[in-house]
């Protein structure tokens, strides 16, 4: 049961919505005794509360090291009084795959999420695996049923905050705020703007470089919005004028969220003055969906995002809001990136503790992904003498503080899980699988593009390799009866790949051997388990070629987890005194159901942990 002040607080600005909210509250009040009676009669009237604190990418090696050194006292206490162990992740160990398995208790061939990316069968181009935005609407591509929908059918309510692969929000008995895959107003996964008084324009990865024009004693810029729309702004001394309002600009400090209204959409942005000399430069976040006026289904019920925004303040809604490309490209520096990550983390903590304040029974779950983003960007700094050498250690200590605060909400009837979906390792060398396939005669390059009429295999995504199969791919070349032998041949050859004597690939998996379910046809034919230090190269991930198979990764994005799953398990802490054997992330959903007295359905594969 969720006890809140009522959505009415969120709608003070509108008499009609206030009236409707009061009516809904009245109906809810009248129905309350009947709901309680119904639950008791069904024998599911547990008052049990469950808190799930997800820390994306929290690595067991680092956690164990800093627990042993006494730097994570709350996690250590939880481990000593309850249980701590490594949590087996999915193959591949990627957040959309692993959190989908967490939610549904099934392998990827039953939930249909195999990677961040799918490939389009006609164009062979990469597309987002988890959601599809079309003129007809938005579709969630994750299949099967998450545990919160099953609990809801038994009258048990959940508050689900930012668990990946929940965009668009799907109706169920509870509240949900979407996360990963939520686009910005330009329909991308987050395009920042980088303004400068230097007139040279150029394209940068993940963003747009745009000019500031001198007009009298001020500078003017034009922020590009959805479609062909744009918003003009002016900078005069230390003031920013935009959308009829004026904001202070202080070098190195983000402005508050600024609301922007377009013809058919409502957005929010923050500005950051990054330099005042020799040129004036400004960073502007991607234009994110305004949670107070969401134009896409980012929450369930639809007014939940509005309620959170009105009650707690505006917040980042983008799937991956920490702007990693802005740091890679130099639009912001490390300090500004960390400041942005902390602002986002603070917004999410406010939401999480609001949910904990309101939850008397049922599930309150939140996944924090600052842990993932900061490790991606600062792994190269770990242990060095720079001012950012302890960023990751400090991050873990900060997550320990979050766990400590969460523990104050745990009573004898509360089950607490603290878990991560995968661990982390370094990313020093990229492997271009497409180039390797070409060098070994599986892929034919005609000088400007891949010759699909003669290509037998190709790579798209962070772990997958596909056969160009007749009857499946539009220009399929491989006969289905030859597929199994070709998979085995490539698997054996690829597993021997070395980088100047160094093992680059730990193992290669045949999806038909490790997955089973109705979506197996959509899976990559082979999944590559890279050795630590290696990952698919930046070009190969989007289906491109490069001159060499191996290349150095010189970007700030220097930590990763797109490796063999045995190298990057996650963590599992609970206040339950359990002794589970080899727990896996697929075990979480059936375990959660059983703790509420609900039998896991027959299609679920995970075991109930005890």
């Amino acid at each position: 049961m969720y006890i809140g002040p009522g959505a009415g607080f969120a709608f003070l600005g509108s008499f009609l919505t206030l009236l409707l909210s009061l009516l809904a509250s009245f109906v809810s009040l009248v129905m309350w005794p009947f709901r309680v009676l119904w639950l008791v009669l069904r024998g599911k009237g547990t008052r049990r509360k469950m808190i799930i604190l997800g820390l994306d990418g929290l690595d067991p090696k680092l956690t164990e090291r800093w627990m042993a050194e006494g730097k994570l006292p709350h996690l250590r206490k939880l481990a000593e009084s309850g249980y701590y162990g490594q949590l087996r992740t999915t193959c591949p160990p990627l957040s959309p795959v692993a959190w989908s398995t967490f939610a549904t208790g099934v392998n990827p061939a039953k939930h249909n999420i195999f990677d961040f990316l799918n490939r389009d069968l006609r164009t062979y181009g990469p597309e987002l695996s988890s959601a599809k935005v079309t003129k007809q609407g938005v579709e969630l591509r994750r299949k099967s049923k998450p545990f919160w929908e099953i609990l809801g059918k038994h009258g048990i309510s959940s508050t689900i905050l930012r668990i990946p692969v929940t965009f668009p929000a799907v109706p169920f008995h509870g509240r949900l705020l979407s996360a990963m895959a939520t686009p910005d107003l330009r329909g991308t996964q987050g395009s920042f703007s980088w303004f400068s008084t230097d007139p040279k324009q150029s394209v940068v990865e993940g963003g747009l470089k745009l000019p500031l024009t001198k007009v009298g004693d001020s500078w003017e810029g034009c922020l590009l919005g959805p479609g062909t729309e744009s918003v003009k702004f002016r900078i005069q001394q230390d003031k920013l004028q935009i959308a009829g309002k004026t904001f202070d600009l202080t070098r190195g400090e983000y402005t508050p969220w600024i609301r922007l209204k377009f013809a058919k959409a409502h957005g929010i942005v923050r500005f950051l003055l990054t330099h005042t000399e020799p040129e004036l430069t400004l960073y502007v976040t991607p234009i994110e969906i305004d949670p107070e006026r969401p134009d896409l289904p980012i929450s369930h019920p639809a007014h939940y995002a509005v309620y959170l925004s009105k009650l707690l303040g505006t917040f980042a809604t983008l799937g991956m809001a920490e702007d990693t490309w802005a740091l890679n490209e130099g639009a912001i520096d490390e300090t500004a990136f960390l400041k942005q990550a902390k602002l986002i983390q603070a917004e999410r903590e406010t939401m999480f503790f609001n949910a904990l304040d309101k939850t008397r029974s049922g599930v309150a779950a939140c996944v924090f992904d600052t842990t993932d983003r900061v490790q991606h960007m600062f792994y190269r700094r770990m242990g060095d003498a720079s001012e950012h050498g302890k960023v990751i250690e400090d991050l873990y200590c900060d997550m320990d503080r979050l766990v400590g605060r969460t523990l104050s909400y745990v009573d004898k009837d509360t089950v607490l899980f603290v878990l991560s979906d995968h661990g982390f390792c370094s990313f020093r060398r990229g492997v271009n699988l497409n180039t390797w396939l070409q060098q070994n005669g599986y892929l034919v390059w005609d000088g400007s593009d891949i010759d699909w009429s003669q290509t037998r295999a190709y790579a798209v995504g962070l772990s997958g390799l596909y056969l160009n199969l007749k009857g499946r791919e539009t220009q399929g070349f491989v006969e289905p009866q030859q597929a199994a032998a070709l998979r085995t041949e490539i698997k054996e050859l690829l597993a021997r790949l070395q980088d100047d004597g160094q093992v680059a690939i730990k193992d290669v998996y045949d999806s038909s051997e490790i997955y089973s379910g109705p979506y197996l046809d959509a899976a990559p034919d082979l999944i590559v388990g890279y050795a630590p230090g290696y990952r698919v190269s930046w070009d190969s991930a989007v289906g491109k070629m490069s001159k060499t198979v191996f290349e150095d990764n010189t970007k700030c994005w220097s930590g990763d987890h797109c490796v063999d799953p045995s190298e990057v398990p996650g963590v599992l802490f609970t206040n339950q005194q359990w002794k589970p054997q080899n727990p896996g992330i697929e075990d979480m959903a059936p375990t959660i159901l059983r703790l509420f007295g609900v039998d896991p359905p027959s299609w679920m594969e995970g075991r109930v942990l005890t």
Partner: protein, 64 residues
């Protein structure tokens, strides 16, 4: 936009399917029917251009 739309299907066909959907790994009859529709739609629909697909992915940290 409605999240779900009701359609009328032959009831004996649905019963045939209902007995098999969970064995096949689906969580519901609706999921099974949606999957069948998606497979056929994938064959019939036209794709977005490669450039448009790439544009939509812009900003995803894992990709260039």
């Amino acid at each position: 936009m409605k999240a779900k739309t009701a359609v009328k299907l032959n009831s004996s066909l649905c019963e045939r399917a209902r007995t098999l959907v969970e064995k096949a790994g689906y969580s519901s009859l609706e999921e099974f029917i949606e999957h069948a529709m998606e497979r056929d739609l994938a064959r019939l629909e036209t794709s977005e251009s490669k450039e448009e697909l790439m544009r939509k992915l812009k900003g995803l940290g894992y990709l260039k």
